[in-house]
Structure formats: C-alpha cells, structure tokens
Amino acid sequence: MKNTISHRVADFLKDFPPFSFLHQKDLEKLSEQISIVYKDKDAVIFAESEKTHDSFYVVHKGAVALKKSAKNNVLDMCDEGDIFGLRPLLAQENYIMEAIAFEETILYAIPISVFKPYALENRTVGNFLIESYASNTRNPYSDIHKDKLYGDDLLQENLNSNHDSFDLAPIKYSKKIVTCGPSTTVKDAAKIMNQNKVGAILIVDEMIPIGILTDKDLRNKIVTGDYSIMTTAETIMTKPVITYPKKMTVTEAQMAMMKSNISHLCLTKDGTNNTKAVGILSKHDVMVALGNNPAVLIKALKRVKKVKEIKPIRARIMQLLQGYLDQNIPMTLISKIITELNEACTTRVIEMSLKKMSSPPPVKFAWLALGSQGRSEQMLHTDQDNAIVYENVSEVFKDETKIYFLKFAALVNKGLFDIGYDYCPAEMMASNPKWCMSLDEWKNQVHYWITNPGKNEVLLSFIFFDYSLTYGDAEMVNELSDFIFEDVKANPVFYVHLVSGALQSPSPTGFFRQFLVEQDGANKDNFDIKRRALMPLTDAARVLILSHSVKSISNTAARFEKLAELEPNNRELYLSCSYSFKALLKFRTKQGLLHNDSGQFIALETLSKMEKIKLKRTFKTIKELQELISVRFNISNLV
C-alpha cells in the first residue's frame, strides 16, 4: 500500500546506490514492500552459517558490524545507506558472516523476491552490485544463480585492507584542489590558502599545473621582504611542479616527498605536468594514512567543515585510546591526550555552531564542561553535561541575551549529540535555561546551593563544582570560582553536607569482602565501578580540595596529588588514592572499549583472578579515605 511511510522510505533510499539508479515509480513500489526493523545495540541481525532470511538490509540509522565470529574481528562496518546480507541471498547459501547492531539501529528489510527483478532488469543496478562485491567479474549476469559470482573474494579483500600490506595500499588524496591563476597577487593567494586551511596552492592555467606556492615560499620570499605582497603568484612560485600519477601507494608517496624534499605532490591525469591536475597530496595526507596520532587528529579536526565529519575522527580517537591502553602507557598521560582530543572535538562543534548563528555573541561567554568531562576523566562516549555562563547585562537586554545563548546552546548540544555524546537524561545541558545563566545569576544559584544544602543542592553542586572551561572567557570563570571559595568559607556547614554526600556512595565490598553487585535491572549481577569505586574517590577529593581552596584543579587524580603536597602527614594515603583512581579509570576504560559502552558495569566473571585482586586492593584505600574525611569534618555529629 502506498502511503506516507513508504514515501519516507523511498525518499531515503533514492540518495543511495543502487536505489538511486531506479526510477522514482519503481522505487516507490519497492518501498511499499519494505519492513522497518529496529535493533537494539549488540542485537544479532543474522548469525554466521544461519539460513538466509528472505530480505536483505539497508542501514537507515545507526551502524552494523559484520564479523567473522571465530576471530571476532570486525570485517566491515555498515553505515547509513549501506547494504548488507545480499550476497548470500543471491548465492543461495547460508550467511558466512555475522551481523550485529554496533549501536542502536534502524534497518530497512527489503525482500529479495521484490528486489531481484530490478537487479536483473536494470543494468546499472546489477552492475553496481557486481562491482561492489567482486570487482573483477566481467559478465555480470552469467552466474547469478550459482554460488561463485559473489564468491569469497569479498572476505579476502576485506581482511587484507584491514591488516597487512598497509603501506602498499593506495593513498587517499584530496580531490578538492585549491588553485589560483598566475596573475593572482600573493596577498590574494595567501587569503585563499587561509580560507581553505591549506599549506599550498596550485598555480594553474586552465587546470594545467604551472607552479606551486607553499607556506615555505611565502616565508622565504615575502616575509623576508624580498618581494612585496602585491607580487603575482607567478613570480615567486616554485616551478616546474613535481607531478605524479594518481595511483600511488602510501610508501611511494612518502618516498617521492623525501626524494625531492617537498611537502606537496601534485597528481595529474597521466602523471606529467602537461595534463590536468586531479588532486593534491600533502604530507598531512600521508601522515593520516600512516595511522592515528594526536597531532594528525587535531589537524584533521581543524579542517572539518561539517559536524558530521567529526564522528569518524572520534572513532579514530577511540582507536588511538585502545592502542595506548594496549601499550600500557601511563594513565595520566593517556587521559591528558584523550581529554585534549575530546575537548578539541567539542571546541570545533562550538565554533561551527557560532558560525551558524546569525550574529556574533552579544557579550562574552564561557562554555563549561561539568562532571566527568570537567574533571578530564571522560574518555569514552558518555552523556553530555555542560553549562554556559555569560557576562552580566542590563535589565533591558536580559531576555534577548538569554534567548541568544539558549539558541546557541541548542545548536551545540545537537552537534555534540551528532558526534556521539548522548543527551544528559537529567537535562544538565546548556540548552536548559537553568544551566545557561549570566555570571550574577550563577552566583545567586551557587549561593543558594551553599546556604540551603539539602540533598539535591549538594548533588547539584557536586556536578557543578567540577566544571572546567572548554571554550570562551577564562576570567569570568575565574571570578565564579573565587566566589564559590569565599562563599563556602563563609558557610562552613556546607562542608558537612558535602562530606555526608561523599560518604553516601555505596560501598564496594560486602561483609565477607565479596564484590557487591547490582540486584536488579539490565546490569543485574554486574559490578558498578562508577558508583561504587570511582565516585567515592571523586567526591572525597572534591571536598578536600575545596577545603584547601585550591582553584582550577578538577581532575581527581591530580587533586589527590596536590593534597599529598598540602598535607605531608597524609601523603601516603593520598598518593595511593591517586594511584587507585587511575587504576580504576583504566579498568573502566578498557571495559568500555571492549563492550563499546561507558564501561560502568563490569561482569565479574569475565575478570581474571589477578584483576579481581587489583580491584579489591583499591577498595581498601577507598575505605581509609572515607574514614579520614568523616573524622575530619566530624560527620557523626550531624547524621
């Protein structure tokens, strides 16, 4: 039946091959027969050697991992618009891979009986399918019902590209070439380079490369004063351009650059400088191809133009994290680097959101990361917690200003959501009017929390007091911090509430020193490492550091290290707290990467004996620390 939903499906499919080759009418007809399937994260769509379903699948939302379960490595990741599970249907054999929803996913299931006539009738559709499965088959229609056509090549190919012979893989070059004519002034050329954020511009005559101008040329010839900035590009460009054919491997590209000691290669149609330029290859591209390293990722981030492009970079940050953990690099260093990268992602989203606004911000503002992000302890994808503080404005502009920042915050929150940070379930986000306020409003708010320390106020201040500046004006944030310290000092009873809040996190072990596990819910029988082990440490560190009025250290491990310095008699305990915290965080991060979640819940049976002992050792430290603060702030008098 033709209806609103089938239109909706057709409208999505029309942008993706092979559906894009179908006539609108056919596509609509096809869409009427489709089923929409929802799969929760980790749900199996089909298992290896399972009998084939009568439909194949297109990913509408989310991502699907194709795995060979024996090795458990991901062979392919299907994204929006990707097709999977078609080959076995055509070959009429069982599934050779397993398909698992990598995240929450919506699929379109297309019955093969409905689709097959189109594949047979429409040459482009057929060709596309053949090409995507076995690139060397000449006659697409010869063996469609036999099993060889879409043979095992797919598997082989994927395995290779993922692992070995990496250096010999063809390099990806940028097809968007930044060019200017020979008579362009150097000043304008530099502007173009700046706009496109590239380090080299190609001087072309009808797309035939005649020279190249790089940052180095500008430095050596213009900045030195040898030439004026109004000189034409032609005068100072490097020529002739060293050109190469576009089919290059990573190694070849690297060699070419080293050989001529240049940072950019121009790729032309036939490899000589007599044909049109088709692409440009920079050292940066080579570095990107060689793998993930923080500098490359930061650079890649700076170049993205759309929020959507950040998501794959985030995926690579996770790979990097995995690599660091595998190499056993110290946790302090890992968390610094990863936090830096995550912050760079957020900053980029903020910058892009600012651009989307119709006018620049009316007053100075600061974007604050709260909670675990504020403490630089967030390495995996978790929820967003953030807030905005902006300069005080006169009564007249009050509403207007608030509306501006709320609108801006909504853009940022959506952007962060798009790159993989879930919305905060408690709405602690800058797009919530309660978390988007002027400096004075924040002071009032904080003062209210401090002077009315009920359970909720303490909890809110727990989250808020761990803020750190992500973007914007540092001075204002400083002022707010000062205010908080003064106010807490003036209201010492607040400490007592903070401490009792800090002691409320449930204890990690029971009477017989067994792990206490969750009693109910999806995580039944799992150990909640966040609430039972990390939070007690974080909460205690916050209280202690606040009592010493130490500003701008919000990382828990760093706080303990500072405390060890401030209180030499408790040095040992604090250092072991710092160590425990890092160990626990590493534990959580590893678990999170393993299961592609936040790592909060740990299935105890998957741990080795050694790991369990390590975990338990940290619990002893937690206990001692809790005793220390309850004695120091004399908690028994209150509760």
């Binding site: 089938s6 909706r8 499906v9 929802y38 799969k39 408690a426 919530n432 999806a522 039944k524």
Partner: protein
C-alpha cells in the same frame, strides 16, 4: 476510570510468558478537525502494526475520511483541505476497515486518550461498539524513562516533537496521521530500550 479498573490495574493483565516482542501492537494517530470530542471529526486515521521490532509497510493503514464538519483554523496544522480527495470512504466504512486492521492488538499512541476517545465517539455515532483494546501512551511511558529526581523539573506534557528531538527521529511527515504514528512507533521502541536499561521488563510492566 472506575474504581474497579483501578484495582484491576494491579493484577496481571497478560501471561508472564508473553514477550513484548511477540505482541502485536497497533500504533495509531488521528488527524481531526479540532479538539472537541462532541463536535469535531476525524479527518484521517493512520496506523501501523508493530511486532518483534518490525514495521511492515505493507501492513499499515492510512485512510482519509469523508466529513461534513470542517474547521478552517486547524487546516494549517494537518494540511488536509476539504476538497482534497484521496479515495475517501465514509466514516462508517473507514471505521469498519480500521476495526479489522486493529483486531485485538494493543493500541499505542501519543496522548492516547484523545485518539481513542475520538474514535469511540465516531463508533458511537455509527452505532458500533466501543474499543475494548488495551492501550499504552508514549507520553506517559516516556516520563518513566526519565530519572526520578527533584533535581530538575519534569514537564507535565511531553509533546511528540519533544520525543522526536530527544530520540533523534526525523520530523518529516509530522502532522500526517501515519507520519506521526511512525514517529510514535520508533519512540516506543526506544522507550522500551531505555526502560530495559534500568530493569528487565515484560509486557505487564508497561501497563503499570
């Protein structure tokens, strides 16, 4: 709701062994000429069947009804013009078709009470028996996914737009009956997932 129903709610409605997955739900939405149960009329019923996390497009229902009552002011919301003809059955015919489609499935809608009351009023006018299907409301179920805390105020009413934003569901086709039903269906699936993260739930738990 009578006292009797109130007590009945606490009882087990369904066999414990019936899973949410195997249950057939009919997710529906109506476009009406207004919000007055007595005077306003249904212009369109959109409904789809949801079972095992799957919506088969073929097995969905979208009917524009022939109505005499028409209110210009709501036309800008639903976009259904009076003369817009698309195989329009009479109210009676549409209801009969709908009842066949619905069967004894559980009804899901957003602010279900409105749609169900609208349909019941129409049934009454046509001397047909009232709906006896069990109903679920995504507006209510969504609230259950939120953290229970005094830290932040929960809104009293969450609109379908709120849910679409929260769950990142495209708002294309918003304010067409079947389009809204689709958004409601996806929101329902995501709500069930959220509830399951907190606690394993079965069909009965959805009605608590």
């Amino acid at each position: 709701m009578s006292l009797f129903n109130f007590w009945k709610k606490e009882e087990t409605l369904f066999d414990e062994n019936i899973t949410i997955e195997e249950t057939r739900f009919v997710v529906l939405d109506t476009e009406t000429t207004g919000f007055d149960y007595e005077n306003d009329r249904i212009l369109c019923i959109g409904a789809l069947a949801l079972q095992n996390g799957t919506i088969a497009i073929q097995n969905s229902f979208e009917v524009y009804l022939q109505q005499d009552h028409y209110d210009k002011s709501t036309a800008q919301i639903h976009g259904i013009l009076r003369d817009f003809v698309l195989k329009r059955p009479t109210e009676m015919e549409a209801l009969e078709q709908f009842l066949v489609f619905l069967g004894d499935s559980i009804i899901i809608a957003h602010h279900t009470i409105f749609d169900v009351t609208m349909i019941n009023k129409a049934l009454e006018r046509n001397n047909l028996p009232q709906l006896t299907n069990k109903t679920l409301d995504t507006a209510y179920l969504y609230k259950r996914t939120l953290i229970k805390s005094h830290l932040f105020e929960r809104k009293d009413h969450y609109t379908l737009d709120d849910l679409a934003d929260k769950f990142d569901i495209s708002k294309k086709d918003r304010h067409t009956a079947l389009g809204d039903a689709y958004i409601t269906a996806i929101a329902f699936l995501k709500i069930v997932k959220k509830l399951r993260e907190k606690k394993e739930i079965n069909l009965n738990d959805l009605f608590k």
